[in-house]
Amino acid sequence: MNFLSLIDWWTLAIAALCAASCGMVGAFLVIRRLSLLGDAVSHSVLPGLGAAFMLAGSRSPAAMMAGALAAGVLTAALAAGVRRIGRLPHDAALGVVFTSLFALGVLMITWVAGSIDLDPGCVLYGLLELASLDRVDLLGCSVPRALPWQAGLFAGNLLLVVLLFKELRITSFDPLLATALGIHAGAVHAVLLTAVSATIVVSFEAVGSILVVALLVAPGATAQLLTDRLGRMVALSAAIGAGAATLGYLGAVALNANIAGMIAVAAGGMFMLAAVVAPRYGVGARALRHASLTLRIAREDILGVLYRVGERGPGGAQAALQHAQAVRAAGATIFARVACHQLRRRGLVEQRGDELALTPRGLEEARRIVRAHRLWESYLAQNLPLPLDQLHEASERFEHFMPRQMQEQLASEIGRQPDPHGREIPPG
């Protein structure tokens, strides 16, 4: 059978819209360290649903929606109160509130169990599979009932983010500054929490609670790994959410598996991928940066050692060193070996049999490093009462990082005297 014919575009549209809506507000939750609010609210809507059923006496969608929304806002407010009174970390306060409310909800549902059919599976996993079967007429065409809801949610969240972007940004990063500028941080916070609750409640029915939890956090955190600018992060988060929804949906169709679960897995997978390969903040990029720094230090250490050997030896500065000795000088690691290879390839040293020697260009480079080292030693000796044997350690580290400008400043301050160990400071 043709794979494309299995795809239901309505379902895909609902999932993608929902994911983008969650991603937009979720980015702010991640920034504000409120990521677990989604988890909390999606549990504590249960007593809201129960109370709405008890009060309204039926499962009318309006009553259910109102009850769930009230419970969501109540959760956030209660958590803030518990946090203040109990002096608890935010997540612990949230945990106290949502588990208690959930327990209350379970008892309420048990109380009315004879007269209500609430399927926990439906709440948890959602009914994306059936979403496109439940139709309404909209402007003359028949669309899934969830679609106008999701579209409205998307528009509402977009409007909120665009209109209140400045306020949301400033209260997220610096609530005190916001207050000083006359922006009521508490009010902005309340608006955001209401939007989050509405997002959860509207998405709940279509995609299930567990997917809402994943989509509120994972795209925002993924975007956080990719950019430093909040505006870009929010847009990226929405796009990543939609991407995860598409990917997850296609995967679910291919495996004939639960759609909501697959989208949650896709969102988590995209986060893990970004955590490894993100250009600046990924684990891979960090490891690469670390490795290239280690290599540079090893290269410079080898050049420095070659220079010093040449200084002492009879053959002038061009003296050579056994290859193994050079590797040992740079720490005898795999990095040291690679560093030797790189120096040869860049024409800074040349290999003569088993010996390494500085080329004229290498000599120049080595002089710069040794100069930085000895300048710093002289400076330390002049300005700090350190014993002579402690100067080398400090300079050995700083020689790799001393800016050129600082070298000139130190040189003019120290003049043309030898370093504290009596060796000449090479001219720059």
């Binding site: 004879g114 986060f271 960090r286």
Partner: protein, 309 residues
């Protein structure tokens, strides 16, 4: 009313073997979760148990996939392995990226549970059908606890308490002053991992009895309630453990003694939510009436400090 009192008396005298088992198991769980929860809360990792509990679902599926039977031990081990995997990933994300712990926990909850939903769906569609309702394992049912389950819970609880007692000094330093702990030459990271391992063990032990949300509640609420009364770790551990146990005992008692709701399909009230609500009542009581931290005491202090002019 009379039946309520008779039922309560029956429960209190622990005549009923089933009630005895359930009471023993949940009380042991209450103590262990209360004590371990204190350490987790003080390490600002209160909801790690939430991630572990949700990661248990794919773990259970993996175990079933491998051994092809619903052996309780295999399912527990699977849950434990995946719980530890989730906790480890959260720790790695925190250590290696700029993403914060709460976001890492949220992602772990969503993705692992999503994986479990997918996997259990795929398994239950297979012809053997023995896998139907694998997810029941993690939603828990205290009333169906068997003697073996209770013994397993007691063993985990005893082991956790022993670890905390043996390493009390180290955990104390870790909880309040990580730098001091590191300066003492104690393996801070290993101790941190040990706290996470304890959280994993207690969470997984509690899942079949009380379910995902309720085990998180047992890890979070008693420590929060204990914190209202004291700043000292030793006292906090004892209080949290005691309140966890008391909440479990009262909850099981209420569940056994309360008359069943009208028209309910099941007999009696579910135990887990009752335990959690009793624990929540302890917290509310402490938050209101604790002499130093309570809301009432704070209000009175404010009134004394700023008399109406």
């Amino acid at each position: 009313m009379e039946t309520f009192l008779t039922d309560l008396a029956r429960f209190a005298s622990l005549q009923d073997a089933n009630t005895r088992t359930v009471a023993l198991g949940t009380c042991a769980l209450g103590v262990a979760c209360g004590v371990v929860g204190c350490l987790a809360t003080l390490r600002r990792r209160a909801l790690l148990g939430d991630a572990v509990a949700h990661a248990a679902l794919p773990g259970v599926c993996a175990a079933f996939f491998l051994v092809q039977t619903r052996s309780f031990a295999a399912l527990m081990i699977g849950a434990l392995v995946f719980g530890a995997l989730a906790a480890g990933l959260v720790a790695l994300v925190r250590a290696w990226t700029r993403v914060r712990e709460d976001a890492a926990i949220g992602i772990a909850i969503g993705s692992f549970f999503g994986l479990g939903v997918v996997w259990s769906g795929l398994i239950s569609r297979r012809p053997e059908g023995a896998a139907a309702g694998l997810d029941g394992f993690i939603f828990g049912k205290a009333a169906s606890m068997t003697g073996a389950d209770a013994a397993a819970v007691c063993a985990v609880a005893a082991a956790s308490l022993a670890v905390v007692a043996l390493l009390y000094k180290e955990f104390k330093a870790l909880a309040f002053d990580e730098e001091f702990s590191a300066a003492q030459g104690w393996p801070t990271f290993a101790l941190d991992l040990l706290v996470m391992a304890l959280v994993c063990a207690c969470t997984v032990a509690g899942l079949p009895a009380v379910g995902v949300v309720m085990v998180v509640a047992l890890l979070v609420i008693p420590p929060a309630a204990a914190r209202c009364w004291t700043d000292r770790l030793g006292l906090m551990l004892v209080l949290a453990g005691g309140m966890g146990m008391l909440a479990a005992a009262v909850g099981v008692g209420l569940s056994a003694a309360l008359p069943a709701p009208r028209g309910a399909l099941t007999r009696g009230w579910p135990t887990g939510p009752l335990i959690v609500l009793v624990a929540a009542a302890f917290f509310v009581f402490g938050a209101l009436f604790s002499p130093r931290r309570g809301a009432l005491a704070q209000m009175r202090r404010r009134a004394v400090e700023a008399p109406p002019s």
